[in-house]
Symmetry: C2
Subunit: 340 residues, 2 copies
């Protein structure tokens, strides 16, 4: 198909190429009438600005990359919604990549985004990520980077997260106030910071309330299939501890829902016999029976805030303004339902 050029539009209207170009970009020094003339003809001739060429000239691609560990996760869907809303406002587009909890893939995806020339990158790290060279590479290239939710403390960039330790502490303290003393913890992998922090919050709540910490009540759930992990570890928990356990604090809702399903199947009454507290407040937690108490993590807000910071850093970089990295803590809330 033949492509219309700026020159052709300029010639047909008897204007300079510069004026046409400025009119299409809504420059204030071109009159409204001229802009209308130019835009109408451009539309009529199917004029498409060559965005690659524009990008080369402007040294920006108007795209940002986002790498998340997993797509089919209510929390991350909400985060992406927030990012899309913010990007849309500023006419940025989002390149979405899913690391699938694989460090190797995450590393490769960082290279892809760098090579693509994106203006900035948002990452929530995979559970397997220990080596951080790929993040340092982004910074070395001068590309704005914001880490969210699953972050690496030592990386020098902006971060948006929740106070996992505090949230876990509050949930477990609530269970203790309700009279529970033998509280199990279904924790995540040993590596991710938020899994560590939620565990530490759990432990501190016990100690502060003079309840002995019993490591045999902590179950590591890292099979990448939270629902079945929750189901199986609930079975194991009852085998290991019988009646000597009266509550579970789970590192995420899906684990807790798996456990509830096991208890429902075995007619073990929730919350009478065993209470449950989840984390993340998935939508489904409000509709299961019994409904699950959880911690609202405000995924949409986290996405929105992360994108705002990133877009601001991109702007600062382009204008040569010094970038001050931020660390934003998004508030969490206990959402109390029938499971405890």
């Amino acid at each position: 198909m033949k492509t219309t050029t700026l020159k052709e539009i300029a010639e047909q209207l008897g204007l300079s190429v510069t004026t046409v170009s400025k009119a299409l970009k809504d420059y204030p020094d071109v009159s409204k009438k001229t802009k209308e003339l130019v835009k109408n003809l451009a539309d009529k001739l199917n004029y498409v600005p060559n965005s690659f060429a524009v990008s080369l000239r402007m040294k920006e691609s108007k795209t940002i990359g986002i790498i998340i560990p997993t797509m089919v996760h209510y929390f991350f869907s909400k985060v992406i919604e927030g990012v899309l809303k913010e990007a849309e406002k500023k006419n940025y587009m989002i390149i979405l990549l899913q690391s699938n909890e694989s460090y190797e893939l995450e590393k490769k995806q960082v290279d892809l985004l760098i090579n693509k020339g994106v203006d900035g990158i948002l990452i929530s790290l995979s559970n397997k990520t220990k080596d951080l060279e790929h993040l340092k590479k982004i910074i070395k290239r001068g590309i704005p980077l914001v880490l969210f939710d699953k972050i690496a403390k030592t990386i020098n960039c902006s971060k948006v997260l929740i106070d996992d330790r505090k949230a876990a502490y509050e949930a477990v303290s609530f269970l203790i106030q309700k009279g529970h003393k033998r509280i199990a913890h279904f924790r995540g992998d040993l590596n991710p910071q938020n899994s560590i922090d939620r565990f530490l919050g759990y432990k501190k709540a016990l100690i502060d309330h003079n309840i002995e910490f019993d490591s045999s009540l902590v179950y590591i759930c890292n099979n990448n299939d939270d629902f079945n992990d929750g189901f199986n570890n609930a079975e194991k928990l009852i085998k290991d501890h019988g009646k000597n356990v009266d509550a579970i604090f789970a590192v995420n809702d899906l684990l807790a829902i798996g456990a509830i399903n096991y208890f429902n199947k075995k007619k073990i009454k929730v919350p009478e016999r065993i209470a449950l507290f989840g984390f993340s407040n998935w939508f489904m937690s409000s509709v299961i029976t019994p409904s699950l108490s959880s911690i609202e993590q405000h995924g949409f807000k986290m996405g929105e805030k992360s994108a705002q910071i990133l877009l601001n850093e991109i702007y600062c970089k382009q204008k040569g303004i010094k970038i001050e990295h931020q660390k934003i803590i998004i508030d969490t809330e206990l959402v109390l339902r029938n499971s405890c």
Copy 2:
């Protein structure tokens, strides 16, 4: 930051720029040893291929755009996962846009993707889309387009969908075989093709089994909040028909789950008093009480297939091979659980 050029790499290794370029692109006529030398030095010098320049030369951006109506939807999350997997295999990247069920936004996003110079576009239409000029524009520009799930019949492009009418027919026939005669339908908006087809499948099943179609049993749920729509219409249904209704076929799981929540609250027994059948087989349908019968729609497979077809059409276009549009029907399955 200083940028390393191909020329510098070539000079340092005593090779031609062409050889260096070919080595970096894994051309078969460069020896393995040379490729290694070049790649190692490129790594060391932080060489970044300028992907905009590459794009200009290759006339491809190695990106495809995808527009979906809504992000926080189990089905669409699965679709995107399938698309990402396929794209990853072929080293394509995905620009993700969410129309939020707005025709205006969808139209704007099509323009953005065209201007961005993506190699191809995947769209699942918003429920409000009636005017199809924006889709015709894509085709006019010669950009490969694949519509999936929410399609427009009259647009001349490849399509990946399910047989909504057949799936609905099977679900409603199952309810009839179970002895239900007064089956309500919670339908979607009047406009989208899959909402129409599911309604027609429902109606045909009734007629084929000699059950009179009663339009007062059909409730339109189009408030963009399916859970509450389901809850509220369940209340309305009982008010309108009392005991003279014994089952509901819902156009999606979330509506059915909203209805189940109403019935649970009012101690109306499911399935004894009223049976339910959903559509889409959300994960949460398997974990609620009672678990919900539904229709598995294979979102992952739909995403995978849509991306395969699109990438193939992009390939054909680049090679000048004639493109034959396809219409792929992804099989559905009834998933029977405790709600009927």
